[in-house]
Subunit: 436 residues, 2 copies
DNA sequence: ATGTTGGCTAGAAGCCGACAA
DNA sequence: TTGTCGGCTTCTAGCCAACAT
């Protein structure tokens, strides 16, 4: 089956996915968020998960898994990139394992060597039948083979391969008054084959062997939410949860698709990243932070914001979840489009982050966690995390089922020294400061 | 959202769906088959449901529902027709209700008035860029407005609307030597827009107001199994079952999509049709039957076959299911493609069918059905249905988890008079002969 | 530096009857 | 009756530099 074929070129896939997308490596531990997965379904179907769902007692808001397998794909029709991940729920991760991972693969799959590439948002002229493609000057110099400028006009044939390993041929010529780089013959076939429109992005890059690759990224508006015609959105939402719950209950693997262009956020997060953010970073309302976001032209920019609230996104279905548990405001008034809720691991606190030593961290699973006694300044988990959430309905403005919590942070609840004890229904983590 | 818009013209939808497709009417009772629904998912994803599934005790092999809502749709890209049905599980259907339905809507939605239409399988010439569309003579006479043959050449403009209510304009001309009807200008735009290929079918019809409609039906081969890129096939299979099970457990509605061109068989069957086939028709191995199937050219033909076995398609996951419980052989040797398993309600026994009076039929739901005593020649349900199945592993050739049962039928098990008692885990039906 | 436009041209799209099955 | 083909015409796709931003 053609549509099932894997994408071979990881670098090209990542370029098409966008600058902020990271992938965990096979064998590493990750936190899987059913909420985030549901959000991807919601974004793809343009339907909210508004029905009443069965409860899955075995499915925590974050399911710790080992990444059993990951393959990269691209839609045969649209070239939309997606990753298939097979996750193996794990019942316990030892401290040593976690530390090993921390050293090995903090941020997941990455291409270390800086890629030689350029991307361009297509203009009306680029996509019209009237002409070819205008190559930005620097882009041509950087990624295309140099032209023989002694010829009149200088021209060559360009061969590039897409995610499906299909070859595309273009005539690259330097002409016009003033002179410019153009792709002529072959370009319009590419445009019509990929059904590109003005506003979409095309992307060329050169791999280690000097071979040219090209990919596309469709403008957001084109996400017309294919009404699946196979499964109702309700069934999809249930399927996502039930599959994960069944895997968790039977300790078996399950498979998900991560669609970076469609999904509002990543929902499979390296465990070390998750733990660092949740257990080793101090967060409070009013704290300022910065966060990288993708810009219109496919680069990244840091935006500054302030934490305005901490609480569950969905206190009914997903209590004590860290998924988008922060409510934020953005400094710039042009921030209308930006997320009003983010997760801890997405942000970078501007006040110097509080890091504690890993040496005594524990991570273990238990149905009824028993908190160790005699650790000095401890605080029951209910006091640390649950109590503010339980009261949220008293304070909240009711929006999104949460609240703005003013002047409240973990220290204000009595956590005087730098110790945090967090607890979930099935996963307990203790972090003790050693030399602070 | 464009893609969500309903199809307005039921008749056109039915024509595109094919001659054998029937739809239940709103308010009527139906039997929903999770197995059949899974088969549609399997056909669409080209994946078998090979994983281990959670068990859903609340979900019987056939879930009796009331059709709460049905809307017709067509894929915005491919024009593939599908129906969205919302089903309300019901706990009991009274005898009177069932009889009312039997009178009202035995066969579901149908267009009573014979439709004026024609369909044609496109030839290479029809789809090439070289020319237009050759209209079969009779077709032109039947559905297109008459030409003014005094003009030279006789020609007119044809306007037809598709399932999305989009208008298509064609030039209809009568020319050539010998004379023939052709569609010229406008035809190639239609072909390329719908991405029609030789072998696909185009279909014209005239509605009550004389307006022209047109639809398409793609050749089977074109089902290239879009790899969903959103949900893993495992999640889809689970989602289908979990959604139905949840609805059954909470007595709430659930929504499914029925895709007549992709699905091997209908899996939402009018209850009266189901009951008639299951409870009021006598079936035995060796019995000969006929069954209507769609032919290459979109008409129907009756094929003759013989029942070669009776037993569960999937004795492990779906014991005591009537879904494709008949194993059959076909008379014609060209039957390589035809189904080797069919359901009771799909066939028409050639020996005079055995019909009993409805007057004393009961249909009620109970978790632990207790069989009434003292009804004369009764037989426990285990003896009637389960015992042959339990022994199937001893007899079977192992294929498809069932067996060929030779010289075995219900009468052979001791059911001498015309009485049948069938029982499932949650639905019991008694049929007593009154005056036979 | 590069997006858009008018002019020009080559080649495909598309109309026709001839011919054949 | 209707599928395919060669001949011919029409029109669009597509190359070019001019011009504008």
């Amino acid at each position: 089956m053609e549509g099932d074929k894997k994408v071979q070129n990881t670098t090209l896939w990542l370029e098409c996915a966008g600058p902020l997308v990271t992938l965990p490596v096979v064998g590493s531990y990750v936190a899987y968020f059913p909420q985030g997965h549901s959000e991807q379904v919601a974004a793809s179907t343009q339907k909210e998960a508004d029905m009443q769902f069965p409860s899955y007692p075995n499915l925590p808001p974050q399911l710790i898994c080992q990444l059993y397998n990951i393959t990269l794909h691209a839609d045969q029709e649209t070239d939309e990139v997606y990753a298939q991940m097979t996750l193996q729920p794990v019942t316990g991760v030892s401290c040593q394992q976690e530390k090993d991972q921390s050293l090995m693969s903090n941020l997941g799959i990455q291409t270390k060597e800086p890629t030689i590439s350029f991307s361009k948002i297509l203009t009306a002229s680029d996509t019209s039948t009237h002409g070819g493609f205008s190559i930005p000057r620097r882009a041509a110099d950087k990624v295309f083979p140099p032209l023989d400028y002694t010829k009149q006009p200088p021209a060559q044939e360009i061969v590039a391969r897409d995610l499906h390993n299909n070859e595309w041929h273009f005539r690259h010529i330097f002409r016009g008054q003033p002179r410019r780089h153009l792709l002529t013959t072959g370009w319009s076939i590419f445009v019509s084959s990929k059904r590109l429109q003005a506003g979409d992005t095309v992307l060329f890059m050169r791999d280690q062997n000097g071979h040219l690759l090209l990919g596309i990224r469709c403008a957001k508006r084109q996400q017309t939410a294919i009404p699946s015609s196979l499964l109702s959105s309700d069934s999809m939402f249930i399927g996502v949860l039930a599959a994960a719950a069944h895997a968790a209950a039977t300790n078996s693997r399950f498979t998900i698709f991560y669609n970076p262009r469609a999904s509002p956020s990543e929902f499979v997060i390296p465990l070390v990243k998750y733990n660092k953010a949740v257990f080793h970073t101090q967060i409070s309302v009013g704290m300022r932070f910065r966060m990288e976001l993708e810009t219109e032209d496919s680069s990244t920019r840091r935006y500054i914001g302030t934490i305005t609230g901490i609480g569950d996104l969905d206190p009914i279905r997903w209590p004590n979840s860290y998924w988008r548990s922060l409510k934020v405001g953005w400094d710039e008034s042009t921030a209308g489009q930006r997320q009003r809720r983010v997760s801890l691991w997405e942000i970078e606190p501007l006040s110097s982050p509080f890091i504690v030593c890993h040496s005594s961290s524990l991570l273990l699973r238990s149905k009824r966690p028993r908190l160790p006694q005699g650790l000095g300044q401890t605080l029951s988990s209910e006091e640390v995390l649950e109590s503010p959430m339980k009261q949220s309905s008293l304070w909240g403005r009711g929006e999104e089922g949460t609240t703005d919590i003013q002047n409240l942070n973990l220290q204000g609840l009595g956590l005087e020294r730098s110790m945090q004890i967090h607890q979930r229904s099935d996963l307990m983590a203790l972090t003790l400061p050693s030399d602070y």
